[in-house]
């Protein structure tokens, strides 16, 4: 989809708010090391894999922040920075700019301020955290669904439809799974939950996503109780 960079595209957001968000990015201690100026040579765009697949340009982002065009920067934060694959191929800039690092900072500001684009971009990570915390494996074969991976093309329909069979075709029996990357031993799971309990990591999750915290803790407490750890609670 073509990127719409028209002026004041997000007129519902005040200029004061756009200025404030940019000021927050600029206040980041990394800022002075990632932006020096731009020759407009286009080396960053030529090296950028995302630029080949999306209407995305690291040069546009570097130039917008160099000009301190806060209206355009806001539009890029809403519509463009999430297309970066964070590979830092753009770090070959002869002026030593790092559009990838600029984007990292802009993304962090977007997340901290709860921008809609950040919530949408990170939505998929909720299930990844759920998987890591409950199974110790971060991805599962059943994530390969047409709505989640349209970039796989029509091939993904066939994969999703016959996932059980595909997995059973793999020689190791421990990979005959679709909900987890491989079969997870009960003992491993219990040890994992005890580590989360002892390190207080669940407190971090409760601060970020209460709904996710509730469902993870629910499962953990149930499994721990079944394993004889009745006294372990996360309250």
């Amino acid at each position: 989809m073509a990127l719409d960079l028209s002026q004041n595209k997000y007129s519902d957001v005040s200029m004061e708010e756009k200025d404030r968000l940019f000021a927050e990015a600029k206040a980041d201690e990394r800022w002075e090391h990632v932006l020096y100026g731009c020759y407009e040579c286009g080396i960053c765009v030529a090296a950028c894999p995302s630029a080949r697949f999306y209407d995305f340009s690291p040069r546009v982002i570097a130039q917008a922040v160099a000009r301190e065009d806060t209206d355009l920067i806001y539009t890029l934060m809403a519509d463009s920075i999430w297309d970066c694959s964070q590979c830092f191929s753009c770090d070959r800039c002869p002026r030593k700019n790092s559009p990838g690092q600029i984007i990292t900072i802009l993304r962090e500001v977007s997340v901290k301020n709860g921008l809609k684009s950040a919530k949408e971009a990170l939505q998929g990570y909720g299930r990844i955290i759920y998987k890591i915390m409950l199974t110790g494996t971060q991805v599962s074969p059943d994530m390969l669904q047409p709505d989640a991976f349209p970039d796989w093309g029509t091939h993904v329909y066939e994969i999703a439809e016959n996932l059980d069979d595909w997995r059973k075709a793999l020689p190791p029996e421990t990979l005959h799974t679709t909900e987890t990357s491989w079969v997870i031993d009960d003992k491993t799971i219990i040890e994992l939950y005890l580590i989360w309990h002892m390190t207080g990591v669940m407190d971090l999750i409760s601060g970020v996503d209460e709904g996710l915290y509730d469902i993870i803790v629910d499962v953990m407490e149930e499994r721990l109780e079944e394993a004889g750890y009745d006294d372990v609670t996360f309250d």
Binding site: G124, G126, R127, M143, Q145, D147, A148, D214, I215, D218
Partner: protein
Amino acid sequence: MAHEKVNGCVILKDLYYNVENNTWVRVIDDSTVAIGMTDVAQNLAGPLLHAKTKKVGTTRKQGKPIATVESGKYVGPVKSPVAGEITKINDALSSDAGLINKSPYNNGWIVEMKADDLSSDLATMVSGDAAVSAYKEKIERDDIQACEQIEGADTYD
């Protein structure tokens, strides 16, 4: 069944809704209710792969999870709209979570609960035209995309 569509999303007027948590309640008797996800909720989650309900006998406070649903990229709780005990679960969901997508208000019901104080819980929800208005406001406020009925879905023409 009386219903209205808001941005393509079906709202049945005879149900009670917790709009914030996107759940519905069907009153079965003085204290027993069936609970499920709304059409808006199932559209936001996308095609569901897993729906894991809590066990029969589990007691829940209002707002605590009675089930967890997963799609390709989404996981989230179904938050209980009432306080009480789970008395029945929809076993069919363990093998076909997609029932929630196809039939959110009928075959895709999630649990039945015996509520501790149903009248107080219902007082926190909306029904009928008030539910339709509340969803119009929510869909506009949250910029929710139009609901799409997937193949084999219940028809509400």
